[in-house]
């Protein structure tokens, strides 16, 4: 249970972008009032979408289930305000598409479903019941990847998990949602972790936090002691992308997840601190995912904040609550500046994977002129996956996708380190995404 400043091996590559976390690091989580209307996409996770089980005109309460999961790798969504279902129709989704969404007009009552009840016996439940509650609470990874949580908690018997890692690295610049969660709800996170350990029974457990959040390290250590959990709270040196699953496992255990493999191939499982808290709420309070903590920040926001936001709240409503957008704002992102997705409209809703809404101004945003590759190799030095971004860029640009496959384009985790350091300002990640898409398409076509 010792607090340990790491001198382990770490991982190769990586970058040190300016953190800019001071904009919101000191600000306690504020509760955003429920908006008048929420837009809840039926798919907010990786996997099959669910089927709506409500119709326009139905009245719903907070926590009522709105969809039936569409298979095993699928989770439902829930009403996040009480009111009337106004429509079920395609609406803009923050991933840059339009997606079938359930629109609820609020009645201002904020009446909760009677399925949301405390369960005193939460720490004695069998693993099966735990997984089912987690699934029906609509849990998908809160760190951003949004993979259904119950699936991750069901490793096949031939892949036993010996190491569990709770990810509190929060290596994305600007974001402080996980930081605040660890400061304000350490017990709930640790209890969520207890539930996970009960299901997995690993030999070893870590909580990993970057050492720019020593207050969170202390808070988590105290909570671990109070709750009598046996696990090591580790402070990792700041380096992006420390919080990427594979890099985190490597830094903590020295193990490398094999190419194309999953953490369980090396006996590891990683969950985000936000997910752990949601697990506790799902299992002990029978409370589905109807809200999440969102860091609203960037120099384009008048008053940056950490907010507890109902799922489905439009970005515009959230931003209004932060004093609105400043003149000179240039980009609106869902997520952090390294991996976040630029939004063309503020009419998109907060979803389960929305860790932040970042509004960058003209000075903060990358404004470089695109030049030519001077072969400086900075991208290669920065790539945490050992790839050659410059070569991949040239191959993809020439549409030589087979070559790109040979050079490992599918191993790219889209962390953005390469483009961040490129002095020529080349759209390297754009090329990687395109290359990955084309190669996957070809692989699928080939069966």
């Amino acid at each position: 249970m010792a607090l340990r400043i790491l001198t382990r091996r770490g991982f190769r590559g990586g970058v040190h972008p300016p953190e800019n976390k001071e904009l919101t690091a000191e600000k306690p989580i504020e509760i955003l009032p429920p908006p008048p209307v929420v837009v809840i996409p039926v798919q907010q996770h990786i996997g099959a979408p669910g089927q709506p089980i409500v119709q326009a005109g139905d009245r719903v309460r907070v926590g009522d289930r709105l969809t039936e999961p569409g298979g095993y790798v699928s989770v439902p969504v829930h009403a996040s305000i009480s009111g009337i279902v106004k429509a079920i129709e395609p609406r803009p989704h923050p991933l840059g598409t339009t997606a079938l969404s359930i629109v609820i007009e609020g009645d201002g009552q904020d009446e909760w479903s009677d399925t949301v009840v405390d369960d005193e016996a939460w720490d004695q439940l069998p693993a099966e019941e735990i997984r089912e509650r987690i699934r029906m609470a609509g849990l998908a990874g809160m760190g951003g990847a949004a993979f259904p949580t119950h699936v991750k908690l069901s490793p096949p018997p031939n892949k036993p998990i010996d190491t569990f890692i709770l990810n509190g690295a929060e290596c994305e610049p600007y974001l402080t949602a996980d930081h605040r969660l660890m400061l304000e709800y350490p017990e709930e996170i640790v209890r969520g972790m207890k539930i996970i350990l009960r299901v997995l029974r690993p030999a070893k457990a870590f909580i990993a936090i970057e050492d720019n959040k020593m207050d969170a390290v202390r808070a988590m250590r105290q909570a671990v002691q109070r709750e009598g959990l046996s696990c090591e709270v580790v402070a990792l040196p700041v380096k992006y992308p420390q919080g990427a699953e594979k890099q985190l496992i490597k830094a903590l255990t020295g193990r490398e997840v094999p190419r194309g493999g999953l953490p369980m191939d090396v006996g590891c499982l990683v969950h985000n601190v936000g997910t752990a808290r949601a697990i506790y709420q799902a299992v002990a309070k029978r409370r589905p995912v109807i809200d999440r903590v969102v860091t609203v920040t960037g120099r384009g926001v008048v008053e940056p904040k950490n907010l507890l936001v109902r799922i489905g709240t439009p970005f515009s409503f959230v931003l209004e609550h932060c004093g609105g957008i400043r003149d000179g704002a240039a980009r609106v992102l869902m997520g952090g500046p390294m991996m976040g997705i630029a939004q063309f409209t503020l009419d998109v809703p907060v979803v389960k994977g929305t860790s932040g809404i970042v509004v960058l101004n003209q000075e903060e945003v990358d404004r470089r002129q695109m030049a030519v590759c001077i072969r400086c190799a900075r991208c290669i030095d920065a790539c945490p996956m050992g790839l050659m971004p410059t070569t991949l860029y040239h191959l993809v640009k020439a549409k030589r996708f087979e070559g790109a496959q040979d050079y490992g384009v599918l191993d790219c985790i889209e962390c953005g380190s390469c483009a961040y350091v490129c002095p020529a300002g080349l759209p390297l990640v754009h090329a990687m995404k395109w290359g990955k898409m084309e190669v996957s398409r070809k692989l699928r076509a080939a069966g």
Binding site: R12, P17, K246, K250, G254, R255, E256, P258, R259, G260, G261, V266, A330, R331, V332, L333, P337, M338, M339, G340, I341, A342, Q343, F344, T345, L346, D347, V358, L360, E364, V365, D366, R368, A371, V372, C373, I374, R375, C376, A377, I380, P384, M385, G386, L387, M388, T390, T391, Y407, D411, E414, G416, Y420, P423, A424, G425, P427, V429, H430, K433
Partner: protein, 348 residues
């Protein structure tokens, strides 16, 4: 409802502060001490050589880009650096047209025909120098100006007096004496021995730059000053210079002596001639060196091997330029066969 349509772009949305112009101009800055040293050691004429080389390089680039209706990119500093490096590879007393022709060749046929910055396979400055050496060998190899504050390598010889040249001449005498005993006068042999002895004692002169040679290559001290700055800025990767200089040291120690294996003088070979300039500023040229870590080691070592072969066996006392140019040609191959290990490709 907000009707504004926001601009979108692919992640990442931040970038660090590096840019091609910044890198190039700082490389030029790192070369400044050696240039100022050249003017100090060899006089104002060195400044004119530098001026003409840089002006011609920048002018040629601008003219070609104008003619081809391409955007003029001379502000990025890369042509400036090419001109500077070419000048540093010329004798201080070069006539003004020599740097002009050299730079025009370097930029025109060494860089722009391939599509400009980033596409040239070989170092343009070195190509320019090779062209001049082939066309006007005498102008390129006469070093008449003695450096200020010292004689050439501590030995009074009129022409062709770079330290490496003197060493080669002395070694030739000794070699001659060995293959045809009795034919070389004893006095000549004795002279050669003294020369070698004196050369090997001239570390101080070599280090500070009080020796004959191309105008920018002589002061190891001033060059290392610039190299240290580039390393601090992470603009050069030490694998190449370390591999290069290390190889030259080891091989000249093994094979460079006249008394048999392991009697050579590695320090002399490292300090004399254009090795420091070449290893830190020309072999490390980003465009024409490998991008992979292992490729950089092999590239540096390869440069070292070829340099030593030319210096010890070839007919020419120097060997830095040709070895780098030759190794430039291997870069596509090196990049291909030295890919870094992809994460998770190794067994754990």
């Amino acid at each position: 409802m907000d009707e504004k349509v926001w601009k979108v772009s692919t992640s990442p949305h931040l970038a660090d502060r590096e840019s091609i112009p910044k890198i190039m101009w700082l490389v030029a800055l790192s070369l400044a001490p050696a240039g100022i040293g050249a003017v100090y050691f060899f006089g104002a004429h060195a400044a004119w050589v530098i001026f003409w080389a840089v002006a011609a390089a920048v002018g040629t680039e601008a003219a070609i880009q104008k003619l081809m209706r391409k955007p003029v990119t001379v502000y990025d500093g890369s042509a400036f650096v090419t001109g500077l490096l070419l000048a540093y590879n010329l004798p201080a007393e070069a006539p003004f047209w020599l740097p002009i022709i050299g730079s025009a060749f370097a930029i025109g046929l060494g860089k722009q025909v391939f599509g400009g910055l980033g596409y040239n396979p070989m170092n343009p400055a070195l190509l320019g120098r090779a062209f001049l050496l082939a066309s006007w060998p005498t102008h390129m190899t006469i070093f008449r100006t003695p450096p200020r504050g010292g004689t050439i390598s501590g030995i009074d010889v009129e022409t062709g007096a770079t330290p490496l040249n003197l060493l080669k001449q002395a070694h030739d005498v000794l070699h001659q004496a060995k293959v045809a005993p009795g034919e070389v006068p004893a006095q000549k042999i004795a002279d050669a021995m003294t020369h070698i002895g004196k050369l090997y004692e001239s570390y101080g002169n070599l280090f500070w730059g009080r020796v004959g040679g191309c105008l920018g290559e002589t002061s190891v001290f001033l060059l290392l000053l610039g190299a240290a700055f580039l390393f601090y800025k992470r603009y050069i990767d030490l694998r190449i210079p370390v591999g290069y200089i290390g190889t030259v040291a080891v091989l000249t120690w093994m094979f460079g002596g006249s008394e048999g294996l392991f009697t050579g003088n590695p320090l002399f070979h490292v300090l004399a001639g254009g090795l420091i300039l070449g290893a830190f500023f020309m072999a490390t040229d980003m465009v024409t060196s490998p991008v992979t870590p292992r490729g950089k080691w092999i590239f540096g070592i390869g440069c070292g091997v070829i340099t030593v072969i030319i210096r010890l066996i070839g007919g020419y006392p120097e060997g830095v330029s040709y070895s780098i140019l030759l190794m430039n040609l291997t870069v596509p191959l090196l990049d291909r066969y030295t890919k870094p290990a992809i994460f998770g490709a190794r067994k754990r």
